[in-house]
Amino acid sequence: MTKPDLSDPAIIERLTAALEAAGVDGIEITRRDQSLLIRLLGAANGPVRQLRSEKANAAGAVSIVKAPMAGEFWPSDLSRTGVPAVSAANDTVGFLRVGPILLPVVAGPAKRLRRHLVEPGTIVGFGDPIAEIEPEA
């Protein structure tokens, strides 16, 4: 059986729609090479979908995190005032926003953010480099 690409916007949209239809507030899928977390949250402007996906990085030197979909890049979650932009291990290196969809992009296990490669508010495309990460000391 073919493994679905969890960073594919179509897959994310389909899963989100299924969750909404079933009245479920979230799902987390983890496998060796990819993981995906979708959380449906209430918000003042209607339901907000908070999504997270990650791709495991091979251990080693500095590596690049690429955008898993097109979106507007923000270093922090705009819906949570005061959340720090810089991540801890396995934490977010930034967010991609498209309308109500917010997709956290994570550094991966035992990695940390070295520097961002795009300015806040930049529209990035699929596969565009958005951050450099490095192994935790």
Binding site: P9, E13, G71, V98, G99, I123, G125, G127
Partner: protein, 456 residues
Amino acid sequence: MMQPQQRFDTVLIANRGEIALRVVRACREMGLKAVVVCSEADRDSAYARSADQSICIGPSTVSKSYLNQNAILLAARLTGAGAVHPGYGFLSENTRFSAAVEGAGLTFIGPDADAIATMGDKIAAKSAMVAAGVPCVPGPDTELPSEPSAIWAIAAEIGYPVIVKAAGGGGGRGMRVVLDEADLLEAVSLTREEARKAFGTPALYMEKFLQHPRHIEIQVLCDTHGNAVWLGHRDCSMQRRHQKVVEEAPAPGISDTLIGPVGAACVKACQQIGYRGVGTFEFLYEDGAFYFIEMNTRLQVEHPVTEETSGVDIVQQQLRVAQGEVLSMAQGDVTCNGHAIECRINAEDPATFMPSAGLITALELPVGEGIRVDTHVEAGYKVSPYYDSLIAKLIVHGRDRADAMQRTRAALASFKLEGIATNLPLLRELFDDGAFAKGETDIHYLEKWLKTRVAA
């Protein structure tokens, strides 16, 4: 359902290559912003960067980029586009995409989902055309029954040879020619099974098989206020494996008196089904009679030959109609002048027709009066193996067919493209062929000519 039209200032182009660039040009000339979506294979192309904004939406595989409806709609939302132009191919005749675009509050630059669905179903389309008085190929406009006796009776009434076709088919797939009664039931059974697998419906229909037809098209343009015109006719008979190689306008040897009523019937059909945007009625033409085969509910690859003869910018008209404007011309305003020819320049081996990917190391396009080249490639462009092999269209306009043929020969001779194989040598040879130069060759001519050429 007729969608209320809304103004927009940004158009997202859900396509690639020369047609993406063509739409960018029309947007620019109308003061609209153009956003091009692209795959990873196209992200560094100069044509993508020539738009006001380009955005990569997925990997090179078409299913994850140019056919990925969700990614395209997200890109439209991200870039603030108010309309989506589907170009040709990909999602241009996809009912779900048309509906999804309008469901997202955007304008789909093309007909609504209902019109695409009606014309995509060959039986429904034929029925609609019969109702409007458009001439059709002899045969019932209903689904073929399953009882053998009824199938035999229909074939006998039409007269052999007949052709059995899948209702959901197209592009030369899902059809079988039957020469006599003995082979009929087996052909129906095989085609039905193919149709079920390939098109999701086993529905078939049967028609008279024409043996030496030409492929003639009528271009229509309709607004959302009930106005429609036809912009003349084209001959696209020069085909190999149902793929057009050379197109021309007008179709040689067909008088205005003969085709006029057919064009008028096409306009009437559009008005009856509430069609909007551009469309093409395709006909087989044999022994002085036209037989409707299908309608393409989108911009055609060969639209430039009609633009050159009619003087109408078809892509700009698409955009104006999508904005809700009233057609600026009545049928009496449409006049076609001279003769235009389009050659499709493909990245393929001219002998084996195998696709040829790689780096274009040198490119010199022909220039001169009446010469137009629609292309997205340049020297240094890397032709991707992921997509269609069409890399350029050479369009030549002359005062008459002989003049256009002569100018095309000269343009082909000066067209220089190095680094990859193309069909330019084949086209040069074809334009020296006597029968083609004379005109009015049928849809089988090129295949026969190629066989003769191989044997020689």
